[in-house]
Symmetry: C2
Subunit: 218 residues, 2 copies
């Protein structure tokens, strides 16, 4: 009879192991968490500002902002009323589980209902690094163009919600919403989608309802 040989089925990467630890810490505190990704300037920070303002008095929100440099985004989130921590990646093009692991103890997780992590503005690299958050959210924007799902499939495939921001600019740019949504549907069938404008507030209700429902489910 052959000797038993230990078989290691799947070895987690160092990043994935730490992402799992992050998740355990977030879960232990009873918090729901999202990882918000987008191109530079699609409106991640504006969406977070609007979300924090709208949820004030209803949910307790904490923020961790990742950027190459500056604390401009954390400053905006803090001004909107969130407990905010800034991570400067020092040149790195994405957050990873190590950075989140270092930042988490800077927030009092048990005093929060919702943790929003704002990733570095980049449609490529952040898709490859799990952080340990519960859901991935992509913020797309109208002036970026309707071909983005086709050109950045990895990002569009790996998210649980797509926010389509800046719909107030639809009259001024060429953007075929059908073509755009078709691209999303092929890559990520049935993913939650919210067309809205952080400038005018149009469509924000659907996004806020979805997010609040996710928090309540925990």
């Amino acid at each position: 009879m052959p000797k038993n040989v230990p078989v290691v089925e799947k070895i987690l990467s160092a990043n994935d192991q730490l992402a799992r630890e992050n998740r355990l810490a977030i879960d232990a505190a009873g918090v729901f968490s999202i990882n918000v990704m987008a191109s530079p300037g699609a409106g991640k920070t504006s969406l977070i500002e609007q979300t924090v303002r709208a949820l004030t008095g209803k949910l307790r929100v904490g923020m961790i902002n990742g950027d190459i440099a500056t604390s401009l985004d954390a400053d905006r989130a803090a001004a909107a009323g969130a407990a905010a921590v800034q991570i400067n990646t020092g040149g790195d093009c994405h957050l990873d589980a190590v950075m989140l692991h270092d930042a988490l103890p800077r927030l009092d997780l048990r005093s929060l209902d919702l943790l929003i992590v704002e990733n570095v503005g980049n449609l490529v690299c952040p898709a490859s690094f799990a952080l340990g958050t519960h859901k991935n959210v992509l913020v797309a924007s109208i002036p970026e163009g309707d071909d983005k799902p086709y050109k950045y499939p990895g990002m569009y495939r790996g998210v649980e919600a797509v926010v389509i921001n800046k719909i107030d600019l639809l009259p001024y740019v060429t953007f075929r919403m059908d073509y755009f949504r078709q691209g999303i549907e092929v890559l990520n069938p049935g993913v939650a989608q919210f067309a809205l404008s952080c400038s005018t507030g149009e469509g924000l209700g659907g996004w806020l309802d979805w997010l609040t429902a996710q928090v309540r489910k925990r």
Copy 2:
């Protein structure tokens, strides 16, 4: 007397060595070349389309387009009249000198005056990889917001020209041009700047004059 010890002053990285080879090949053909970088959707391809159309009959233009997936951009450049080659990076967030080295033989360089390389849409990673082109051009766009130089300093520091695209959208978004230009000026004093709209054609003349002058200087 001490024995002579060989001192290696600066060892080029593999990428930089290959970038130097690319430059030699481009120079040998008498071609002027630019590396166009931007966020996803800032308008690299639109700028290239307009540039190729405007220069038809004046300069012979070749294109190498880098994308994660699809040949949508090369198709657009080819339709505008350029000899075009598509590089699919297969997930990589930037072009590098190896990819350009592989693509160059696909173009008849000696039949060209100007080679435009369109990098992957990304404000972080492409800044770290020399390709061997003569000048780096960054396409910024109004709806991305006026804080981008402050948040992506590496990219703004490493270019010889900044095109500020989509000025036709200035009436519809909040964008402090002074604040934006101040950020550029601190990082990259005196860099060439061209505010324009690829949709309306406003301001394209200044960009085309600069580019044509660079080609003529060779």
